[in-house]
Symmetry: C2
Subunit: 453 residues, 2 copies
């Protein structure tokens, strides 16, 4: 077999990079669980009719076929899920009688889309979703809750990742505003405004006239609304200053202010939460709060963390399950950071200690030393062969293992910190490394990313 | 949408069951990392020519096709991996220049096979593999190492799962024995002996004559060898008593004795390691040590943890990478235990505390109490609505949350253990639950499984 080459769109990590990913997934899980979110993992496949229910993603679905099943296909009709929302909605309906509502869950899993690969777009990638779903009703305070939980999760990464900004808006606010200025096709206005980051303002204005049926003055007011941003609730007064009166608009202003207020305690100079009245999430079926997240220096990636409120996440005809959730694109965030060397791990193996091997006959004794270290929670490995100690030290160096243990035939031991060169007597039953050396640490280099603007 | 039904062969768990799975995966990961095994995750897909290289599994492969790609298929030529060995061999070749050898890795991931579903056989399931791979050479002591690491991993589960028995054999031993008695088609003998658990001994004897060309006396000696089992190295004398002399046999006896000896310290009444000279793993390309594992009371499952030594795990034509590894079928082990209620978690949510809500106006204050608890590492949630306290307590009970926190308007607080009914004053900044209440605990009921025989 000749040397294999990577498959475009299917990222893979070296072990030190995988440590970084696991470290980040562990932190996310920790925050989600502290807030009472239960773990769910769904199967990777769904019936095609489920996957295609909303139509527009059909081109991205990978269909499965058993190789020997022939063209008719024993499993024709299943495909890989392209997000974690469709499977979760199905899971809620399937298990409704065995779940307690409101039901909080987190789900950290691979998803697949047959898209053309480009930066931040993969064919296989990991998402971390949180959702809260109710039966029949779901209090608005859960919108604040999911925003705050994901904000805390992202803030828990803030010394590792570039500065991030969680941008919040509210569909009621913008739809109420558009209705209040007399727009007749509110959805069309929203779809045009959704393009505002990709198209110059004057083009958006023209599209609002041509495609959404607004007059020039209405179009200008929509653009004025879209310009409003604030990290506090001052956006409310700026919207009111535009002089539009609408009941739905008022409801949306109140909700958005509550979300921004509710996240205030989580913000820092590296993680901000902001009301941003451009955010529309045009094609998705949100009905209130909407979220997007940008990472400083990686504008081309688009939003790395998005979501919002659905009045009907799922329905079986009799019962409706409203939900609010937010989805972090773990691969979208991490792959570029790992690829550019912004993030790295301090070593490529878990081992904190390499037990040097004086000769092959000492292997059992060396195994016992390693075992004593492990009993104290210290990852350790024994040298693969009894090379000269200089070679064994270089073996440790290449892997980033910080300590080499030298056993002596008389039962005396020494341990060497190969970074400082310090060497001292040690007892395998009681010796402990510095706490930060127990597991690989994740290091971040942020000099090549600008602060969030 | 009507109520969805499960897909046969694609198991899913309720949240309390997923806690059990995560708990077990965390324990496995911990043991693997203590022994210096690095984490690797490979993409879910491989080129079909890779997947079909060994031919016999072709019928089980799920091929991927983009729904909109037409019959010619933009991605025709990729399929989901059916194990973690083929992708790992490819990963080693692809990254050989960036890995340090011998390379230890663990890999805990989903795999897919389009098999007919039955107990212990799924179309999507989780495996936990460890392998050690060398460049050109790999010391035999690594066979002992992988056996011991997986034995420790399984032993770390022993209070949760039924008694288990790791059965070890050695291809050199049995092949040398068969050659030593004069068998000309050693592989044919091995393939017949591999059926010994499914077919009566007299039928095996006849097959050895008909299919492997042995005479009756040779066939009887093969059966005598296959009957030998011991949890210590006494098997060596019993093999020697059969009076067969062969150099390869001697080498195999020595290796197998070393593996059994090396695992002796891990064994207990609930976890045994045993030389079992029936084990052949007929169709796999092993060249020395082979492993299988049975779980008491679940004989129908077959082996839940198997592996062995490959002289060539991978090769690019110039360099050969020998390896030794063992693969735990996590789903095969867990799904029946969860399905029969042998394993369960103490609650269905991570929350240790439900903060009761006296009225909706107190929500911000209750959120702050929960936040103080979380700062101390205590998972907490606030009641979804300000129902009567009796209803809020039942809400906690249904989820298995052990404590309910009652805030008072004057800033005094009480916390109630709803299992005992005990209620006491508490300060959210300093209160701590019993350590075992911090996270859901996994409980096991073994009365319905017999001990390992």
């Amino acid at each position: 077999m000749s040397k294999p080459t990577p498959l475009s769109g299917f990222p893979e990590f070296l072990p030190d990079q995988r440590f970084v990913e696991l470290h980040i997934l562990d932190r996310l899980r920790r925050v989600f669980e502290l807030h009472g979110f239960a773990p769910v993992e769904t199967r990777s496949v769904e019936p095609l009719d489920q996957l295609l229910r909303k139509g527009e993603t059909s081109k991205e679905v990978y269909v499965l076929r058993r190789l020997q099943a022939g063209d008719e296909g024993g499993d024709a009709g299943i495909g890989l899920h392209f997000d974690l929302t469709v499977p979760f909605a199905r899971y809620v309906l399937e298990n409704a009688g065995r779940l307690e509502f409101p039901f909080r869950r987190y789900q950290i899993q691979k998803v697949w889309r047959g898209e053309r690969p480009q930066e931040g777009r993969f064919r296989e990638f990991t998402q971390a979703d949180i959702d809260i779903v109710g039966r029949d009703t779901l209090g608005f305070h859960h919108d604040i809750e999911v925003a705050r939980v994901m904000a805390e999760a992202l803030a828990s990464l803030s010394e590792l990742v570039p500065a991030m900004r969680l941008q919040v808006n509210n569909r009621k606010l913008i739809q109420g505003f558009y209705a209040g200025i007399g727009a007749t096709d509110v959805d069309a206005v929203m779809r045009v405004i959704d393009k505002i980051d990709k198209v110059p303002a004057e083009v958006v204005a023209k599209m609002l006239v041509d495609e959404a049926g607004l007059d020039d003055e209405q179009a200008q007011r929509c653009l004025q609304l879209a310009e409003i941003r604030s990290t506090d609730t001052s956006f409310v007064e700026r919207v009111r200053a535009l002089g539009v009166s609408n009941e739905q608009l008022e409801g949306g202003l109140e909700e958005l202010a509550a979300v921004v207020d509710g996240c205030a305690s989580v913000t820092s100079d590296r993680f901000t939460v902001e009301a941003d009245l451009r955010i529309a999430r045009g094609l998705d079926y949100y009905t209130g709060t909407v979220f997007e997240t940008v990472m400083a220096g990686f504008d081309g990636l688009g939003s790395i963390c998005s979501g919002g409120r659905y009045d009907s996440l799922a329905s079986d005809g009799r019962t409706t399950y409203p939900g609010v959730g937010i989805s972090l694109g773990v691969s979208r965030m991490l792959v570029p950071l790992l690829g550019r060397g912004v993030l790295d791990a301090s070593r490529s193996v878990p081992s904190a200690v390499l037990v040097a091997l004086p000769d092959e006959d000492s292997r059992a004794a060396c195994d016992q030393i390693a075992q004593q270290l492990r009993k104290n929670g210290i990852p350790a490995e024994v040298a693969a062969s009894a090379q000269k100690f200089g070679k064994q030290i270089r073996y440790a160096e290449r892997r980033g293992i910080p300590y080499v243990w030298f056993p002596a035939a008389d039962g005396s031991h020494q341990v060497k910190d190969i970074r400082s060169g310090e060497q001292a007597d040690a007892d395998p039953a009681s010796w402990r490394p510095a706490a930060e050396d127990l597991a690989p640490t994740v290091t971040a280099q942020h000099s090549n990313t600008s602060p969030a603007s």
